[in-house]
Amino acid sequence: MKFGIVVFPGSWSHQDFHHVIVKILKEEACYLWHKEADLHGVDCVILPGGFAHGDYLRAGAIARLSPVMRAVAAFADAGGLVLGSCNGFQILTEAGLLPGALLPNDCLHYRCRWTHLRVESRQTPFTTAMQPGQVVRMPISHGDGRYYIDQAGWKKLVEGDQIIFRYCDAKGTLAKDVNPNGSLDHIAGVCNERRNILGLMPHPERAAEPILGSEDGCLMFASLLDSFVRSPLTTCGDRA
């Protein structure tokens, strides 16, 4: 499986993703510079964390205008798999590819810490190797991670089973003191209606080796590989 990792000026997690894909998963990965209009036949696009274009105006607001994002939108429209972590999630919401928006953390601090996440749905190509209710551990590292969506939008997310991860404690309980940024309804990650685009604030790529303290991020990569092997044509879109 070939992963394309988009690099914007200010990206910082692209090498972590590359390391995990090539060294841990033994799969193929390439970088896609943000000015490229071609995705080079990749099977999955990753929008990594960082501070694309300095987060000027709003996090992700300028990055969504990069030429590569037109190709990413077309790829997603054809059913291609798109994963956005941290700044990548912010870019996907600004681009309108995922619902909602990410606001400054309610504590106004930059938060860099481990979080527990409750898996809410395995009905996505990103979570097939997880179980609903399972608690996974991944770190966060952001200043603007407070997920917000209006009441009607939230209702749609709930009804559509589009909330994929929620911040919780080690036992899976949702509580205010384990919500690191004040996200609405403890939301840490959501998918689109078609379920081929996932955005989450935590970093699966920083939780994929025992030396880092967690391998739970591997469950997401395992899910992607599994989904790809089972149905590459339906999950990876039209690459003609």
């Binding site: 928006a101 606001l103 309610d106």
Partner: protein, 84 residues
């Protein structure tokens, strides 16, 4: 030359953590009677438009497409100066 003064603020139902912090700082300084503080963005654009109407339409489009995020923010603007 026309000058557009653009104000972007969080929608009323969106928690403004920065505004709340500024309010408590003002209270620390002894200012009383504050019920709310909202912090927003202020942008000044200088435009060369043939008419004020065209400038207004252009600035509105800029706000909708980039300067404000309609999911979380409201905007308003004022145009000053003469067109042409």
């Amino acid at each position: 030359m026309l000058t557009a003064k653009i104000y972007v603020t969080l929608k009323p139902d969106v928690l403004d953590a920065q505004g709340d912090t500024v309010r408590s700082a003002l209270e620390t300084l002894g200012f009383q009677g504050l019920t709310d503080v909202r912090v927003g963005k202020f942008m000044v654009l200088t435009l060369n438009s043939p008419t004020k109407e065209q400038a207004a339409a252009q600035v509105d489009e800029m706000c909708k497409r980039l300067l404000a995020n309609p999911v979380i923010e409201d905007y308003r603007f004022e145009l000053e100066g003469a067109a042409g």
